[in-house]
């Protein structure tokens, strides 16, 4: 087993980790503001993918413009979903679970009926590979990872600096105190849900050219997102980043030594271990 192979394996794992972190961040944002777990999160990821397919693959709109439009469209869809379905379910996790499950089925079946059942390819915006030191990564993956990092930093700044972002953090920490301070919980909830979904939609748009789009494409990323936020800690942005890197590294290296089923089991074992040793996650505690 050469060093190059190990480095390539690690690079494989890290390569797209940041995009899954985006999905995870959306999920954890919704959880911290509304105290519910949105199981339909993967379907918003899928929506972002299909918006990208239509705008970029079919109509030829510029890739980055498409990405922005995908993020906006899915964000609006999220706000609509929150207003219509989720806003009365604050804190009612079990009911929200059932409702989001229903939404998942509606969106997935709807996508299949609207878009067809076959995988639809999206052309790569960037071609070529980068080789160096015996390892290789495609230019496409590099751009996608960097874009994801840019979005994560943007989210961080948004939550830190902007008024709506600070309002979201206030609600996440203590909704009653925030309300007393004059924060409109309803608006923050809708906005938070929208931003959470927008992040998933952005991830879907980023990965569409790499992985093609299909109605069921949201299932796997959402499982990864769950693992990431448990490892990193729910409600923690740096935790999600750390969780993403850890999961990516383990999956990348794991694939070298064991079969895919074993690698999957490893991910869940990590979840169990973290929940037992540090239930708040490695960085969590916020």
């Amino acid at each position: 087993m050469s060093i190059e192979l190990l480095v390539q394996a690690l690079l494989n794992g890290f390569g797209l980790a940041m995009v899954y972190v985006l999905v995870a961040l959306g999920l954890t944002l919704i959880f911290s503001i509304l105290e519910i777990i949105n199981f339909a999160h993967g379907e918003f990821y899928m929506l972002g993918g299909y918006v990208t397919y239509y705008l970029y693959a079919l109509f030829g709109v510029n890739y980055f413009a498409t990405l922005v439009l995908a993020i906006l469209t899915v964000g609006i869809a999220g706000v609509v979903a929150e207003r219509l379905i989720f806003h009365d379910l604050r804190g009612r996790a079990l009911n929200a679970f059932i409702v989001s499950l229903g939404l998942l089925w509606v969106m997935q079946a709807g996508a299949q009926l609207a878009f067809g059942v076959l995988d639809k390819p999206v052309p790569s915006a960037f071609s070529g590979v980068v080789r160096g030191l015996g390892v290789v990564i495609s230019v496409e993956r590099l751009v996608v990872s960097l874009s994801a990092i840019v979005l994560i930093v943007a989210l961080y700044l948004f939550l830190r600096v902007s008024r709506p972002g600070r309002a979201m953090r206030a609600v996440a920490q203590d909704p009653d105190a925030a309300a007393l301070q004059g924060v409109n919980i309803d608006v923050v909830s809708a906005l938070g849900f929208g931003v959470g979904c927008a992040l998933a939609g952005g991830a879907g748009g980023l990965l569409a050219p790499l992985f093609a789009v299909s109605p069921a494409m949201g299932a796997l990323p959402v499982v990864k997102a769950f693992i990431i936020i448990i490892i990193g800690g729910m409600g923690s942005l740096p935790g999600a980043v750390l969780g993403g890197l850890l999961l990516g590294g383990v999956e990348g290296l794991g694939a070298l030594f064991m079969g895919s089923a074993a690698v999957n089991i490893l991910g869940f074992v990590m979840v169990i271990v973290v929940l037992l040793v540090r239930p708040r996650g490695l960085v969590g505690g916020a």
């Binding site: 299949q112 076959l118 992985f211 093609a212 109605p215 494409m217 796997l220 694939a255 895919s260």
Partner: protein, 398 residues
């Protein structure tokens, strides 16, 4: 007010019950109800949907031509399809509904191995003819005389395919294969490995991935480190197979490529990109737009695309052919009794979109219940599927 509400509820329930029973019981005198099962939702939906479409196309053709004439009766064909969501227990319940409620004696179409087993627990005791595309070995056998497979499986295809590779491309010595981690994947890899070893190839890698995976860099890194001459995406469906080929190319793989259990070439070319798909050999692809297929197939492809806005894959064609063959057997038998239809099926070859088709496979399964038809080996050149060789199964060589 409560009493009024109760009365209203009772009336409503009665109306609904009446509506449901009315739509169900309204079987006309000469209607032949045929069932189709499959995963119509979720990750495996493309299989189920193609099965239904293939059956629909043939059923509509027959109905438009005046119905199915069996003996002295003419039947209008009615298709009933249910979604089993790739879950075995669901498939059993759906099969129960088809057999006992819809009174179906023919189920033409099912996919996903475990569900086939579940359906067979219902169809075999009731002597219901069951045709499927599941690849599991346990699905065919002398204890299951009413079941048959409508599409060539790996047990028919792997050996002739790799014999051709050995013959025409002797430089290929080490083969790496990858399939999804389910029944068809397991069976495909087992069959391919057996064929490879029997022909003197070296198996560089024999890998599985979880269905739904899109990022194959980790597993490909391991596989390509074994320096294979050929990469076979075996039982991977078109979308995932395309991703594997695309990513293998990015990682620097330049060797030969195969798709032993290919289904829809357009999708794989689309997803992999022309360059990564260049040179892929497949013994099961069908390209309905190729110059090499008959006019019937080409017309089928055009009609299908017009109607469903998607290009048909091999599963749609297989079920179209299965529907065709079984209805023809009914006519030959001059009866709808499954025993008689079964006899008619095993008696002689049929002319289908595949060419000549016959039931065989006794050596492998102990009973002749596998559709055998000419296997066409194709190569993808410049984004198009080109047929380059034809292999006849032994039973058709007479």
């Amino acid at each position: 007010m409560r009493i009024r509400a109760s009365i209203a509820t009772i009336v409503m329930v009665a109306l609904v019950a009446a509506a449901v029973t009315a739509t169900r019981g309204a079987a006309e005198d000469k209607t032949l109800t045929i069932g189709v099962l499959g995963p119509l939702s979720g990750g495996a939906a493309s299989y189920g949907v193609e099965l239904v479409r293939g059956a629909e196309m043939r059923a509509d053709e027959i109905n438009k031509a005046g119905g199915l004439k069996v003996g002295n009766d003419v039947y209008h064909i009615k298709l009933v399809s249910y979604d089993h969501k790739a879950l075995a227990a669901d498939a059993a319940t759906a099969a129960n509904k088809l057999v006992f409620q819809d009174k179906v004696k023919f189920i033409i179409g099912n996919a996903v191995g475990a569900t086939c087993n579940a359906v067979q627990t219902v169809t075999e005791p009731e002597k219901v003819l069951f045709s499927f595309v599941c690849w599991g070995t346990s699905n065919l056998g002398p204890d299951k005389p009413y079941s048959f497979r409508a599409m060539l499986s790996q047990w028919e295809v792997a050996e002739p395919f790799y014999r051709w590779v050995k013959d025409k491309h002797p430089a290929v010595k080490r083969v790496a294969l990858i399939s999804p981690n389910d029944t068809s994947g397991k069976d495909t890899n087992t069959a391919v490995v057996k064929a490879l070893k029997g022909l003197g190839f070296e198996v560089a890698a024999d890998e599985y991935y979880e269905r739904g995976t899109k990022d194959f860099y980790p597993i490909l890194t391991k596989m390509l480190a074994t320096k294979p001459d050929m990469l076979d995406v075996a039982a991977a469906p078109a979308g995932e197979g395309g991703l594997i080929l695309k990513q293998a190319r990015e990682l620097g793989f330049k060797g030969a490529k195969g798709w032993t259990a290919g289904t829809n070439p357009f999708t794989i070319i689309g997803v992999a990109g022309k360059d990564a798909a260049e040179g892929v050999w497949s013994p099961t692809n069908i390209n309905v737009k190729s110059d090499f297929v008959s006019a019937t197939v080409r017309r089928f492809g055009e009609e299908y695309e017009k109607r469903y806005k998607e290009v048909p894959g091999v599963i749609a064609v297989a079920n179209y052919a299965a529907f065709d063959v079984i209805t023809k057997a009914m006519q030959d038998a001059r009866s709808l009794e499954t025993d008689k239809v079964l006899t008619a099926l095993t008696q002689k070859p049929f002319d289908t979109v595949w060419g000549k088709l016959v039931l065989g496979g006794k050596d492998t399964y102990g009973i002749d219940r596998q559709f055998l038809y000419p296997m066409v080996i194709s190569e993808i050149r410049d984004g198009k599927v080109v047929d380059i060789a034809q292999v006849l199964p032994a039973a058709l060589k007479k």
